[in-house]
């Protein structure tokens, strides 16, 4: 039976370069895909493009300079979503680097879709509204009017189709923008096996393969509950998925690399960011993992089968980036004796001062690092006297000036606050760009694939 080996080179930005290079050089893969965008990376990229129409990509420089030539040398196809909110700009950079490096004959594809910024974005929204398309918030049902005047950009999540098109046109390097991550593994499988775009069970298998591979080390021992058992985590191998024509797959990694692949690591990654297991919605197919089975078939080799698919949805997910105030945070530290009591007193003092100063804020949040900053109210009161406590103050306000006032006051506690406050630092105030997810009919969305051959 035909099979294809697909590597995972990145699950976030930044991720480890050496693990990706290891797969390209030693993994015997046909393709390696790079996911450089977490859900919340997109609004940041949209803001970059809003401020500078040439920007808005993620990792293109490292991709073009450090990864592309290795892929070309080893004849491994490269697919990356480092185009971010500006795949056209990213593609230009890749082509420029390929020319400089003399990668003659290499075909580079840029995949762009429905990405609009500024005035063009507002025009696009007006156009959709005029067609009677509801742009309500996907999770809360809120109306788009609630963020009117604050919108900066919109991107639609594309699926595997445009990437398959690029591969069909002979592209060895594919630079995309905002796709569903799993599409970057489904597409090469689709292309190699000639799966029809209505072969739901096989498409579902490809999507789940992508879902398992898209977070790099997450399935090879990274972020694993039994992390103490993971061998050689400094040299963790990223995943390789061997996909078979019938939709079955084996998850593994480069032999001799660190990490481990087990039924447990696979189960944890399967459940990551999953909601209804019978209804995992993507632009390409709705996957059903209720019959999925994992089976350890060798050392660091787990077989995957039993995935079913339902027809793809009539809608695609779109994200609008919008301005959501300014945020800042500052940190201060207290040591024994009475570290926690001092931090609590500092909070009390600051709250009183912020009220006195009339600080207008959406939210002011106090955390005690080492005590409750992660589990919040689920954190039990410490039973022993702590060596040290970090006080963290985070503020979100419509006005940047309020954020600055709050940060200043924490510094001032060095001289006016509880005993021996030290180590104060802050993160500079920044504008928060939030995400508004919504659904739009798929026939509304166009995409474009442009393939350039390096002479």
């Amino acid at each position: 039976m035909k099979s294809i080996r697909l590597g995972s080179g990145s699950g976030m930005w930044p991720d480890r370069l050496d693990a990706a290079i290891e797969i390209i050089e030693k993994g015997n893969v046909g393709y390696i895909s790079f996911d450089t965008m977490a859900e919340m990376t997109l609004p940041g990229m949209q803001k970059l493009r809003f401020d500078d129409p040439e920007k808005g990509y993620t990792d293109i420089r490292r991709t073009a300079n450090d990864i592309m030539p290795v892929c070309v040398m080893n004849k491994v196809g490269l697919i990356s979503n480092c185009g971010g909110a500006n795949p056209v700009s990213a593609g230009k950079i890749a082509i420029d680097v390929a020319n400089r490096l003399g990668l003659h004959g290499t075909r580079i594809a840029t995949v762009s879709g429905d990405d609009t910024t500024g005035e063009k974005c507002l025009a696009r929204i007006k156009e959709l509204k005029a067609k009677g398309i509801s742009l309500d918030h996907l999770d809360t049902g809120e109306k788009l009017e609630s963020i009117e005047g604050r919108i900066i950009a919109m991107s639609v999540y594309l699926g595997a189709e445009p990437i398959v098109e690029a591969l069909e046109q002979g592209a060895q390097i594919v630079i995309t923008g905002r796709h569903t991550d799993s599409a970057m593994w489904l597409a090469p499988a689709c292309y190699e096996f000639g799966w029809a775009l209505t072969d739901w069970d096989r498409l579902a298998a490809g999507v789940i393969v992508g879902h398992l591979a898209e977070c790099s080390g997450h399935i090879t021992g990274g972020n694993f509950s039994f992390w103490q058992e993971v061998p050689d985590p400094a040299h963790l191998g990223f995943p390789i998925v061997e996909v078979y024509e019938n939709g079955e797959a084996i998850i593994s990694k480069v032999e001799g690399s660190g990490g481990l692949v087990s039924e447990a690591t696979c189960k944890e990654q399967l459940l990551y960011e999953l909601h209804d297991p019978a209804y995992y919605v993507t632009p390409d197919v709705v996957a059903d993992v209720t019959g999925l089975r994992f089976e350890q078939v060798g050392e660091d080799r787990v077989k995957l089968r039993g995935i079913k698919g339902k027809p793809r949805p009539a809608t695609l997910k779109a994200c609008i980036g919008y301005r959501d105030g300014y945020v800042g945070q500052a940190f201060a530290f207290y040591a024994w004796p009475n570290a926690l009591a001092k931090a609590r007193r500092a909070e009390e003092i600051l709250r009183g001062r912020f009220q006195m100063m009339g600080i207008e804020a959406y939210e002011i949040r106090f955390d005690y690092i080492g005590v409750n900053s992660l589990h919040g109210s689920l954190s039990p009161e410490p039973e022993v006297e702590l060596n040290e406590v970090g006080l963290r103050v985070a503020v979100k306000s419509p006005e940047e000036s309020n954020v600055i006032k709050v940060i200043r006051d924490i510094y001032a506690l060095d001289l006016s606050g509880p005993a021996a406050q030290t180590g104060v630092f802050h993160l500079p105030p920044r504008e928060m760009i939030a995400m508004w997810p919504m659904l739009i009919p798929r026939e509304e969305v166009q995409h474009e694939v442009v393939v350039t051959e390096i002479p």
Binding site: M40, E273, L274, H275, L374, M432
Partner: protein
């Protein structure tokens, strides 16, 4: 009757989508799955998380991998792009669920 924390009888991984946190809870064996299926209900999970989870909690069952999946709305202080929490993606929500105590009948 004895009380155990979920961390003693299962492992977990949490993920995020907007302001929704999901925690997959995985038993070690079939017997363990039967126990968590019976004892770890959506209502009890919502009660456990208190003010950390402001919206509804939905539970899905995956007997094929001995797991339950809890999808919790309004759980991340507005979500990755908007939240003031250090753990805006809820990476530590899995550990937070594993603190929960249940009563075992043996």
């Amino acid at each position: 009757m004895r009380k155990v924390k979920l961390v003693e009888i299962s492992h977990a991984r949490s993920g995020d989508k907007g302001d929704i946190s999901n925690v997959g809870l995985i038993a070690f064996d079939q017997k363990g799955y039967e126990i968590i299926k019976e004892k770890v209900t959506a209502a009890r999970v919502k009660e456990h998380f208190g003010d950390l989870v402001k919206g509804e909690v939905i539970r899905y069952e995956l007997p094929n991998i001995l797991a339950l999946n809890f999808v919790m709305h309004g759980a991340l202080g507005g979500g990755g792009a908007r939240s003031l929490r250090i753990d805006s993606l809820g990476k530590t929500m899995a550990g937070a669920l594993l603190r929960m105590k249940i009563e075992l009948d043996d």
